[in-house]
Amino acid sequence: MSRAAAIFSGPLGCILPAFLLLAWSGFFLTAEDQTSILLSLLSLAGFLLAAVRLGWVNILREAIAVQERLWDACLITIMLALMILFREDHYNLFLLGTIMAYATAVLGLNVQLGYAGVLNFSCASFFGVGGYTAALLLSGTDLPPLLALPLGGAVAALTGCVLLLPVLRTSGHYAALVTMAFALLFRVFLDVSEWFGGPQGIPVAPLTIAGLDFSQGILWGDAEFSFYLKYDLLLLLVLCLAYSITRRLERSWIGLALDAVRSDEVASACFGIHIRRWKITAFTLGNFLSGLAGALYAMMLAYISPANFTFADSLLFLSILLLGGIGNIQGVLVATVLVVIVPEKFQVIQEYRYLIYSALVLLMIVFRPVGLLPRKPRAYTGSPA
């Protein structure tokens, strides 16, 4: 091991990359004109390419594997630092919130598809079930508003139960059709249903926790911080929760059982793994996470309509998962950031963004089907995980 590698396998190996990441994202998010945005994207791409060539990525991977808590703390610090940096900037805080909500939903999808191998083409629909549940609960009932979050998840999970029978009985393309049909059905249903506001959608009352109104900005001395800051903090909390749940699930014996179910149903059944039980668990847990994220996202948006939860959005979630590398939850985080931020910042391509984005995903599936950060096989020996 060279001297440099020895230094960077310590805490510095996590802290320095985290600092670079923070500096770059701070610059990228504040960049206004298109040339500097393009330049910063190109410099990032060049830097990453160099990092892969020079083996820095492997050093970072090692460092993260050894000091995982430190790396997680670094990521949370980056998020908090960005929030503090943009405390008065509605737009960037909203982007950060969107990233965290989407990441939580995709973590749910990851439990389904990445671990248990249950296809779900209606992730955005469950995201929407959570959102509409929150909207109806906050405006129609006197329940404590915070309860709308877990209830949004729970209703999404319950809605998923309707699909359980066909999802369990079918496999492959037939299973894909079931969830796809549900996604289309859900969108049409919202569009024509008067009760859910029809195509115009419905307003979502702001969250209040213990008298703290989330739609009001925070007064701090002379400055007034954006109200999105509160939602971002809550979203960060939810994301951390979802992240640690999925991580722990992956490393537990349950994760092992889910992996077995995904890899080979017949073989795992022969070893006494209850396939239905684990598929149901994964599907329900995933829908719960998506619904939870959707409820909070709806509150942040303050107004939701069927157009937020279309089949195309389900595809967006799926392609985030595929882009990051199916099953790798750190890949999910990276991919969400890329998919949400880049089109938003690139106003030049605004009109063409769906075209460019779908063409890019298409090219990636053809040329690098494993995603940016493919999941590594389980390590049973060597570095402690």
């Binding site: 066909p166 009985r169 049409v188 053809v366």
Partner: protein, 305 residues
């Protein structure tokens, strides 16, 4: 009574359209075991290609008889779309088929978006619905409240003829025998000297040409085409092929008519909200899948361990 009959006639037209789309899905699944989800957008491209051809014909040969115009529009649309199908198959679907099925499905969904967005952005005024010309004479026969339109009758018979032709190609020609052989066992077919690549590309050309007919039919039936129609048509065609049982052409035709029947039932039987007809139809599809997990005409399959 007349109203019910009218609904039935409309349902039959829709069913024929869906069956034509579903036949493509099931053909592709037969030879390559893949779902080409962009097939719905292929249909849409077919109708736009037909429209462009009509515009060109209309400006260059204004006095062309209607029969020739229809034929040329159909041929041009079929040729364009068949070429597109061949390119897509050769560049994307054949290389991807060794990977997980999900990747192909997702890749073709993305391709669908690419096609849709290309039409929206690059076709003249593509983001708005386009008026499709009435190429056939608008005679109609009226009995009570029942209206039987001549052009619809022609379209229906044309669709039936196309399906019959596909049936003949699959069952009575050497190419059809090769397609069936590849569908049954790719390796054995190769050993027997079947040119695999040619068969796959020919299948894609055939399926796409049928889709082009469905696209022109769609345009003439609604006298309007829209870039965004591909997603729903793709989902419907996929549903129809799956309800019938993937890989089975007759199943796909049956599935197409069943889906149209479900939509019609949804529109007739739910009087308070005919807008729910798609909810009803897709809900019924989910139920059918729960009841018969591999479609009504089940795929003969056994799992080897």
């Amino acid at each position: 009574m007349d109203l019910l009959l009218q609904y039935c006639l409309n349902g039959l037209m829709l069913g024929m359209m869906y069956a034509l789309v579903a036949v493509g899905f099931t053909l592709f699944f037969g030879v390559l075991d893949v779902i080409v989800f962009s097939h719905g957008d292929t249909v849409m491209i077919g109708s736009f290609a037909g429209l462009a051809t009509y515009w060109w014909l209309h400006s260059t040969y204004p006095g062309l008889p209607a029969g020739w115009a229809v034929l040329l529009v159909l041929l041009a649309a079929a040729a364009t779309v068949a070429l597109l199908g061949i390119i897509v198959a050769d560049a994307m679907i054949v290389p991807l088929r060794k990977g997980p099925a999900l990747n192909t499905l997702l890749a073709t969904m993305m391709l669908g978006t690419v096609l849709r967005e290309s039409i929206r952005l690059f076709f003249p005024d593509g983001s708005n619905p386009q008026t499709f010309p009435a190429l056939l004479p608008g005679w109609s026969w009226r009995g009570g409240n029942l209206i039987l339109r001549f052009d619809n009758l022609v379209l229906f018979c044309g669709g039936a003829l196309i399906i019959f032709l596909v049936h003949m190609i699959i069952n009575r020609t050497r190419l059809g025998m090769a397609i069936r052989a590849v569908a049954q066992d790719e390796e054995a077919a190769r050993i027997m000297g079947v040119n695999f690549r040619f068969v796959v590309l020919a299948t894609f050309a055939l399926g796409s040409a049928v889709a082009a007919f469905a696209g022109v039919m769609n345009g003439m039936y609604y006298s309007e085409i829209n870039f965004s129609v591909g997603l729903l048509l793709g989902a419907i065609g996929f549903s129809a092929a799956v309800i019938g049982g993937l890989g089975n052409i007759y199943g796909a035709i049956l599935g197409g008519f069943i889906f149209a029947f479900l939509q019609t039932i949804g529109a007739v039987a739910i009087p308070f909200a005919s807008a729910y007809k798609d909810v009803f139809a897709f809900g019924a599809v989910i139920l059918i899948m729960a009841w018969r997990p591999t479609g009504l005409i089940a795929e003969p399959s056994s799992q080897r361990v």
